[in-house]
Amino acid sequence: MEFLTDKLVKEPPFGYTQGIKAETFYPALVEELCFHYDNNPLYKKFCDNKGFNPHNSNNNFPSTENAGIERLRSLSQIPPVQVSVFKELGQQLNSVPRENIKLTLQSSATSGIPSSVPLDVITSKRQAKSMVHVIGDYIGNERKPFLIMDVDPASGFRNLLGARYAAVSGYLNFASEAGYFLKIDEATQRYYFDIDGIKDFIAKLGEQSAVVFGFTYILYSEVLRPLSEQGLSFQLTTDSKIIHIGGWKKLEDEKISKEQFNDLASRVFGVKSKDVIDVYGFTEQMGLNYPDCPCGCKHTPLYSEVIVRDVITKEPLPAGQEGLLEFISPVPHSYPGNVVLTDDIGMIVDGDCEYHRGGTRFKVMGRLKKAEIRGCGDILSNKLKFAETSTTSTTTTNTTSTTTTNMSGSGAFNYYYKENTVGVSSQTVDTSTTPASITPEEKIEVIAQQLRTALTWLRKQSVDALIGLISKVATNKWCDDSFASLSISQVQGLKFLISWCNGEYLTQIANEGLRGNRHFADGFISVDDYGTRSMRATSRGLVCHWLAGNVQVLGMFVLIQSLLAKNVNLLRISSRDNGVFEALLRAFEGEIYTTAGGYTVTGDDLLKCIAVVSFPHSNKAAGQKMSLLADARIAWGGAEAVSAVSAFPSKYDCTDIILGPKLSFSVVANEELTDERKAKKLARKIAVDASVFDQTGCASSHNVFIEKNGSITPEQFAEMLGEAMAKTSIQISKGQMTPEEFAAIHSARGIYDFKGRVYGDSESVWTVLYSENLELNAPVYSRVLFVHPANSLDDVLPFITDDIQTIGLAATGYTATDFATKAAERGAVRFPNCGKMLNFESPWDGLFIMDRLVKWNTLGGPLV
């Protein structure tokens, strides 16, 4: 059977009018969409979830040439499939029988997990035809010698080529002969450029025009940059071309612009700058290539169309506005990749092409960055069993990093502390401009000395007076929206921190942290029944904290405990802090607290016990200096961050507290789902756990496992969770989101439109994703909850490792103790009630923090 698309791809790519496209492209598209709808249960589920039936859409497409806006609107009504769907479900997305699948394409996975695309013969042929037409239009249809800047697949190193192999093979259709000029040094397994080889190859070309082909980043890093640095260049014939594919992401990281690249490439190979052609394409619609036209834009051929959607609202955008690129093509037949929303940012460009190429003109501006990991979930450990192919948003990328050996580092060194003399010192030292004055390490040493002089004062203060002062500042100053422009609602977790700093609660924390009696920090207390043996807790001295970038106020929880244990503190805060931490500390300035007995403790004195510094990660010398000065080290953050701190040298008796990286989830026993009222109440509590700190805390819930066979089904509970998340979003306002975070949410929602159900609001404030699969999903953050049914609570146990910190547990009696015991033995440490997961308690993360920050002294005894 021949489909309309098979005819379509026989047509020339650019010599069409909108009228022709309306008559050929749209019916072919609808035919393919209907085919998938009828033959692919997953796609049908997706369409049904989205309320879209392609069988009803044929008449919606405009048939006239002047229907630009109409066309845009009608195309945008087709629900797009997120590229993330191909990463998660690609293997299962075949719309044709499995035996018809000849090849499964995999992307190069520059953004983490590769996409999988199942291809049948029909699709492969269409791809090949489309490619030949489009690329031929740019480089001519006659075959040319190809100088391939990659490894020869026949060289025995094909494994190093990976997904690049398929792309290289596609272009060989245009090659009369091919030379491969990237070689592998067998000893070091590193690339090197075969200069002699290319010289020979070029010499043999004579007057033939040729094509230099390579992947953008490899071409730059292994060929253009090294050759340029060595002053080497070649001269190809004038109508030779350079074609490069693969994207700009890594070059953007190195701040190389397209103009710089083109200029360098044209100089090295002696071709015109306009003949350096960047070809855009993506695995999910392989075969559809979008080369740079000399007009400065790319063009959609007859076989595809492009629209641009707003990153946040996903509404279609008019020409000239940047957004996410969505490509629509009838070419994919074996999988429903006809309407694909990419992660790439671009815009449609109005106007005609001076080179008379038809088709919608557009530009690709770059790839939307992955949502920056803001939480504690960046676990490098392979112990966690995440859903096998997971969402992309939080997976660690294998980016190439440059090792810096510049021990003094670079960038600003900032600090805030109150000098032991008069006045507050808050300065910025830019080491790049004042290298000769004082180095960050020297400044850290000076600060540490100052802090140590304050230790004598601090040790004389009663714990209760310190609690009074902290509690007063939290209640009076931190609560005040006008204070230092610090709006409670804008600072994640501040509201909770304030309630945590309630005097009674701090007293309880201090009691629990110091073996039942906070007064151990004030002096010797009898510890036996005879009054012969007593004990006290003496502060360790200088505690150095490395705070995480996710939620700065989390660091305050430990700082306060360290102060109550009477330690002086040096904190390295993240540059992403935006002054929040300093503002919280500044609240102590000028504050006076008087006890009932008239004793006065001042905030200014307390500030002499705290110093805050910030410097880049690359400044290892500063980090090392802090580490060496510390009597106790506290590191927050992801695996990489805490590993870096652990690796710093330290005093032999320095004690370490590593907080993070950890993940947490919720577990609901069916006995808790006996009636709707109870279930709704529970849903509200879990919603709180997923809303406080916008899920960036180690103890934030991301996954909810519901035991089956309750009166309320897991799916019904997921719906209740949705309602609860909506209500909670009113009470706990959400922090500002980045476009990347929106994209991560859309991506996750896109996957669950296929595999389950999506509950969420239109503004992406909250999302509940339900599927029947029992799996642990990597966190997406931004209030995204995955809900999974489980036959029994024991089925959840395999997901528990040392990397799981908190499990919000809705269970009682034996069910609770049995699960908690088994989970504890697997590594989880906290099993609070749902709704209380983020309530910072003692012990935290398995340890009594204050206890670790003191040395225990004994007096008298022992009796035995």
């Binding site: 209760d464 005097g503 009674e504 309880q508 009691n511 009898s526 004793y599």
Partner: protein
């Protein structure tokens, strides 16, 4: 501190360790303490100090004479709290009467929790870590077993000036860990004061027994406590001479007071306390001595309450309710001089007159009104008026009265004094 869910059952809280007998404080020799603060009243003698120093010769001890006079107030306790903060003890011993013990409870509370707001009715888990020991030198107040610490709070009432009112912090955590009953202290107490204190103890037992808050276990303690008072004070009432007084067992009186304290702590007391708490210019025990018998008479008008009084009286060895009232009136007569009694009555009449609306005055009998008016002129209390009725009705100490305390109730009670 854990306490049972009271709505489900009747309960008695953890009882402190009791040490009794002469110089019982010596039993604290091995008490697990490092730094001990002894807060005492102004009559604390050097000899007593010696006893403490000998007992705690291996520990660090400091003595603090209370910084407040009479019943404690927030301002007054500040001096002692200051000293305590400086010393930073892990154990506080309060030795003295009810006001010393209550003041010491507050000192400990604010020393440990400087941010504590007196209106707070609950503390989260086990916050107080300083050990507390009470050595009562009087009987009757029940302060040593009570979860409450009574203090005086001044209130500004606009043109009516400054009014003192009794308030209380109620937290079970305020109870001491150890109570020491040393009868030597009672032997030094003037007879009249001892009798008034005994009346206070009796009021706790009786008002607690008939309280709206039913507690069968506390009721048994009340019967036992009243029986002890009856037996011991009866020795004197029936034979008014000093030798008879000397035959009284002070230890049994202390135990009766202890039981009264327990009953009061579990069953909120009644109208006698509600009124006495407004009489801040008079000693609490004297006010109670004046008010307890008429309150029993008033409440007995309610048949069910009358039956309950009767059961208590019989189980405590009285012939019945009249016998109990007679006994209490006799003790009251001996506990308060006629001059003090007259002044207290005038005070109450004055409050009544100045607080009573004309419509309510019209409900009085002619003789009541005449008495009230003539007495009120004497005491010139018109410029010192607060909302007396309201305060009596809202008094936390009187909430257990078996009969609702209404305006009419108050008018009739005071009118009948």
């Amino acid at each position: 501190m854990w306490q049972p869910q009271g709505i489900y059952n009747e309960f008695v809280l953890r009882t402190p360790v009791l040490l009794a007998g002469e110089e019982a404080v010596r039993g604290l020799y091995n008490f697990p303490a490092v730094k001990i603060a002894v807060i005492h009243g102004w009559s604390f003698t050097e000899k007593e100090k010696e006893l403490f120093l000998n007992t705690f010769n291996k520990k660090e001890v400091q003595f603090f004479s209370r910084s407040w006079s009479g019943e404690p107030d927030m301002q007054g306790i500040q001096g002692t709290v200051h000293e305590i903060e400086k010393f930073s003890p892990d154990t506080i011993i309060a030795i003295g009467g009810g006001s010393v013990i209550d003041g010491a409870k507050l000192c400990r509370l604010f020393y440990e929790l400087p941010y504590f707001a007196p209106q707070q009715s609950k503390l989260s888990n086990d916050l107080l870590k300083t050990k507390f020991i009470a050595v009562p030198t009087t009987i009757g107040s029940g302060a040593e077993v009570s979860s409450a610490a009574v203090y005086i709070e001044g209130h500004e009432h606009g043109e009516h000036g400054h009014i003192n009112r009794k308030e209380m912090v109620v937290l079970h955590e305020l109870q001491p860990e150890v109570i020491i009953y040393d009868e030597r202290y009672l032997k030094q107490t003037p007879h009249r004061l001892l009798l008034a204190s005994a009346m206070d103890a009796a009021s706790h037992l009786i008002e607690g027994y008939v309280s709206k808050m039913k507690n069968s276990i506390a009721e048994m303690k009340a019967e036992e406590g009243l029986r002890l008072l009856h037996e011991e004070l009866g020795k004197f009432i029936n034979n008014l001479n000093n030798r008879a007084f000397d035959s009284i067992s002070y230890q049994r009186l202390q135990y009766a007071g202890h039981l009264g304290g327990i009953v009061q702590n579990h069953c909120i007391v009644g109208a006698a306390h509600a009124l006495a708490h407004q009489m801040t210019d008079y000693s609490h025990s004297e006010a109670i001595s004046l008010l307890l018998p008429p309150v029993i008479k008033m409440n007995s008008k309610d048949e069910a309450t009358s039956v309950k009084y009767n059961v208590l009286a019989c189980n405590a060895g009285f012939k019945g309710i009249s016998d109990l009232v007679n006994f209490l009136e006799n003790v009251s007569e001996l506990a308060i001089t006629s001059e003090r009694r007259r002044k207290m009555k005038k005070y109450l009449y004055g409050k009544l007159l100045s607080s009573t609306k004309r419509s309510e005055q019209s409900k009085m009998t002619k003789s009541q009104l005449s008495d009230v008016q003539s007495n009120a002129q004497d005491v010139n209390c018109v410029n010192n008026v607060d909302n007396f009725f309201q305060n009596v009705k809202l008094d936390r100490g009187g909430k257990g009265n078996p009969v609702d305390i209404t305006d009419d109730y108050i008018v009739e009670l005071i009118g009948g004094l």
